[in-house]
């Protein structure tokens, strides 16, 4: 469903943060960096569940509507504005992953450039 080989970095404003099972969702208004000059869209970002996220340090209220955040996602294969979270950088600079099952990012949360590990075969 999600393409972990072609990860995308998005930066924008949170329009909704839904802390619930079986998945936490972030809705984010951001332009698509793969389409320069395109209008911002509202992205649906799937995260792990509250239990997994709590166990790696997230809190139910650490993301709020209107927060400026940056994220790395594995985009939804249909091309619609959605994806699976790999990493998030909060307004206060803290960076969180999305738990073991989601896997790590292969591009930088800072500038979207490939991380060294991604160069490995």
């Amino acid at each position: 469903m999600f393409d972990s080989d072609h990860q995308v970095r998005l930066a924008g404003k949170v329009t909704k943060f839904e802390w619930q099972n079986p998945h936490v969702y972030i809705e984010l208004e951001a332009p698509d960096p793969r389409k320069p000059g395109s209008k911002p869209r509202t992205w649906t970002i799937e995260c792990a569940n509250p239990g997994i996220l709590n166990r790696i340090g997230w809190k139910f209220n650490m993301i709020k509507k209107d927060d400026p955040i940056a994220i790395v996602i594995a985009p939804y294969r249909t091309g619609e504005p959605a994806g699976l979270l790999k990493q998030v950088k909060l307004a206060d600079g803290r960076i969180f992953g999305n738990g073991g099952p989601a896997g790590p990012p292969n591009i930088s949360i800072e500038d979207g450039k490939p991380l060294p590990a991604a160069a490995k075969p």
Binding site: T44, G51, R77, A82
Partner: protein
């Protein structure tokens, strides 16, 4: 609570020891029992944790259990099961997984809930041992020294009917009455399926569960594997209500899709 029986033995041994006994004997006696082998209560993770799976197995303190073997299905059912496994593997390899029961917010049921996908809590009371799996708020009650219904009389459910007894330090359970649509590893089964478990403490922080599934209609013989759990001290279980899954099954392809509320 845990070491009550063990410490009573230690205390007894200490009281019986002669006053002139060398100090070394006292130290050895008090250091021996560190856990009660009949107490599984507490919170547990599956072992080894997935992130540890890539580690050199020789570095694990407790050996990792072997991979679960394929079900020994009778020839009439084996080809269909193998074909389905190939379809699932190909869909996963293409990054387009097929929707599962989880997509429909369905819990594991038995025996899958005992894999401890998320933390598992065990509560022991005089009449029952209760297993709580954080994922999907699953609760399974194993009644002690009780009688199972005959399989033809067992109302089917996700967790069925389970009884347990102690054989030495082994906690031995038997479970019947699993709904036919509750499948472990996509394996078909009949109402006559029986799940046997033998649980024992390995040390203070690990216990193992030898699982054997029998089904005279579908299997050529017993299907056995082992799960191991490691203690997760002081963990408080989270609630889990499958409230709003934006993933859904595509009605045409059966593949998992994502509902997008805004664009």
């Amino acid at each position: 609570m845990r070491p009550a029986a063990g410490w009573a033995l230690v205390l007894g041994a200490a009281l019986l020891a002669p006053a002139c006994a060398p100090k070394t004997e006292t130290v050895a006696a008090t250091a021996a029992p560190t856990f009660d082998p009949k107490d599984f209560s507490g919170t547990w993770d599956r072992y080894p944790q997935p992130l540890e799976a890539g580690r050199d197995p020789s570095t694990l303190k407790i050996p990792a259990p072997d991979a679960i073997p394929p079900p020994p299905l009778k020839p009439d059912f084996k080809a269909a099961w193998e074909a389905e496994q190939k379809v699932i593997a190909a869909a996963n390899a293409a990054g387009e997984p097929i929707a599962t029961g989880y997509t429909h917010c369905l819990p594991d049921g038995m025996p899958a809930m005992m894999m401890a996908m998320f933390p598992m809590e065990v509560l022991q009371t005089p009449r029952q041992v209760t297993f709580i799996q954080e994922a999907y708020n699953q609760v399974r009650r194993v009644y002690l020294n009780d009688t199972l219904p005959a399989v033809e009389d067992a109302e089917p459910g996700f967790w069925g009917h389970a009884v347990g007894k102690w054989e030495g330090n082994d906690f031995v359970t038997e479970t019947v009455g699993i709904k036919e649509n509750v499948k472990f590893r996509n394996t078909p089964h009949s109402p006559a399926m029986r799940i046997h478990e033998r649980m024992r403490m390995i040390d203070a922080d690990h216990f193992e569960n030898e699982v054997t599934v029998e089904d005279p209609e579908y299997l050529t013989g017993p299907w056995s594997w082992k799960w191991v759990y490691q203690r997760r001290p002081n963990y408080k279980m989270y609630e889990y209500v499958c409230e709003d899954n934006r993933e859904y099954a595509d009605p045409k392809t059966g593949k998992a899709r994502l509902r997008i509320d805004h664009d």
